[in-house]
Symmetry: C2
Subunit: 385 residues, 2 copies
């Protein structure tokens, strides 16, 4: 096990009917900016619950934060924060709204001239404007971590940011929200959280037994509840397990002391930037090809995964191969296609373009060994057509 530091100060408030607790978690006399997305919260009752909980606060709203939170939209929100002298942010939404709010938390206190530098120059945020979240879409884990991914259409860029100042002060996780999530989004959440675990697990053995078993626990739980939630999203017990698994998949715990990969995400971000494919689906497209390409390096963990998570028997090689196969089958079983050509007919040359874009940003060594070059990424993407 490698040395590590771990601190996660976010307060989680989990369960049915907990949204009303917002009021006691936001400092009195705060001027609140409530941020949300495309307006689904106005259809499923969450908007009313939040507004009612905020009735004693001076509150301004900003809706319309898109999936893959867009820099230009966030800059409009930043102008509102400055004009209205906002001092507390409340994200009501999924990963995109929360990630956008993290950018705003950082940008609101940023002392440089150009907030884009936070992303482009990879400036870690030590202190941001305090913010809370009401999670409406389990998937990204953003509700209990300090990272965010921001998109800029103008330059077709999708960049990561973060820092110890970007943990939510609190996050309210009410699994009843799952009942009103469209099937496509639920499937995305299942695939996204599952891949988050894989990125922190499918590397090489380092005798971090507990972290391995925790990662396997999350994947087993997601596999168990996936068919139940897809069949009936109002199955509260299944939804609660789904929601807590998504949070635990990316709140920092399982990555402590172990090598991590994240190459699937780095390549996947390019597919979203190029084609607008849902984030989770880009991960499902690339997981199998990435593991096949790096089979020798990853086969020990692939075999352990196949055995413990999928109850597969056989030689190390057989188990490792079955692990990849089972993963692809799992994505397909939740209705997620795993070939790029199933999403776009314009796929020719994508491998090369992804490689070019990674090289352009100096991402010349991805993966747990830091050795996956743009030409490797090209071959991986090409085998995903």
């Amino acid at each position: 096990m490698n040395n590590f530091d771990y601190k996660n100060p976010t307060k989680i408030i989990f369960g049915k009917g907990e949204i009303s607790k917002i009021a006691s978690e936001i400092p009195e006399n705060s001027k609140v900016l409530m941020l949300y997305g495309g307006g689904s919260i106005k259809k499923n009752g969450i908007y009313e619950q939040v507004i009612s909980a905020l009735k004693d606060f001076d509150c301004v709203e900003f809706g319309g934060i898109p999936a893959n939170p867009e820099y230009s939209v966030l800059m409009d929100a930043l102008a509102v924060i400055k004009e209205q002298k906002i001092d507390f942010l409340l994200a009501v939404g999924g990963g995109s709204v929360i990630d956008g709010t993290k950018f705003l938390s950082s940008a609101a206190l940023f002392e440089g001239d150009n907030p884009w530098d936070i992303l482009d120059k990879k400036i870690a945020t030590q202190k941001g404007m305090p913010f809370g979240t009401v999670l409406t879409l389990p998937a990204t884990g953003s509700e209990m971590n300090s990272g965010a991914v921001i998109t800029r259409k103008e330059t077709k860029q999708k960049l990561v940011m973060g820092g110890p100042g970007l943990f939510p002060v609190f996050s309210i996780l009410d699994p009843s929200v799952v009942a009103s999530i469209p099937e496509r989004q639920i499937a995305n959440g299942l695939a996204d959280s599952f891949t988050h675990v894989l990125e922190q697990y499918m590397t090489y053995p380092i005798e971090a037994n507990l972290q391995d078993r925790f990662a396997e626990s999350i994947m087993q739980t997601i596999i168990e509840v996936a068919p139940r939630i897809l069949k009936d999203p109002s199955d509260y017990k299944a939804a609660a397990n789904f929601m807590w698994s998504c949070t635990m998949a990316l709140n920092g715990l399982i990555q402590k002391g172990v090598p991590t990969d994240w190459a699937i995400h780095m390549m996947g971000h390019e597919l979203t930037a190029l084609f607008g494919i849902d984030h989770a689906r880009t991960l499902a497209i690339l997981t199998g090809p990435h593991y096949n390409y790096n089979f020798e390096n990853k086969k020990a963990k692939l075999a352990q995964y196949a055995e413990r998570v999928w109850n597969v028997d056989g030689s190390l090689e057989e188990k490792a191969k079955a692990g990849i196969q089972k993963t692809t089958e799992f994505f397909n079983s939740i209705g997620i296609q795993t070939k790029l050509s199933e999403y776009t007919s314009d796929f020719e040359g994508t491998g090369k373009e992804v490689a070019r874009r990674l090289a352009e940003r100096g991402m010349n060594g991805l993966g747990e060994y830091g050795k996956l070059a743009p030409e490797d990424a090209q071959k991986i993407v090409e085998s995903a057509y």
Copy 2:
């Protein structure tokens, strides 16, 4: 899954050589009281490492905090805190030193006349004097939670305390310390952490799938590394898994959203108070009898545990019984005896005395159903002779 709140702000600094980081975690210009136990840290090099890390601080020492931290000793330390105007506490030790430090953290800012009230009147600590810990003995999880157990010889009492103000600011976990721990203490740590998990798991099913699997993960890891550490406590990799498992066993995570028992601890505390038996060993004595006595209520979880943790097959009843048997065998395998008569010849009447003492303090309903009466405790203890 039940609704829950979860927040754990302790910063964990984990790994070889990390003790030197103390200096950057304590606020500048703090006046520090360093607390420790019987002096083993002066033999294994930890004392020197801590003193060297603290060289730029004004630091006072207080040694001699005994196992089962004793109220009267702590009152001497409290006098030092007041006289010397201490404003930061540093616990260097195991659960007893850390628990004692938590009492001092609370008592130092307590506004009442009699600090004993914190324990006797169960006053939750909202704000304590800030403190850090350097863990020298993995077992209790006290390094990442906000609870403590304090003993008062005078009245043969062992009482619990806690509150959101009692999380350590930081805890340094260097697994190399395990190399110098006597075998008896290592065995205690293994049994203690294992039983902590059981107390939060062996109740009734509530479809908290992830919490169940996390609990099983910790137990599986402890079972895996136990023989390696007992054979060679300088096996760093095994020690690291042991240490992290002990912390995760009682940092609050696995108890969220599930029923918990804790009857074994409540009865066990009485055996320590009456006979001075090591805390962990009282748990090992009572676990089997408690599960046999409450077999009907616990058999579903006992069977799940036997199947997943011990790979036992059979009917529900068979698996459940095997789960109890395997647990007893595990304690024995690490050198821990599981009969009260193996610890004292003076055991006659103990069941009745434990029942009397529980009743005296109004503990009339223990366990996950709150229905285990003193007369039940009597029978459980009697079947542990």
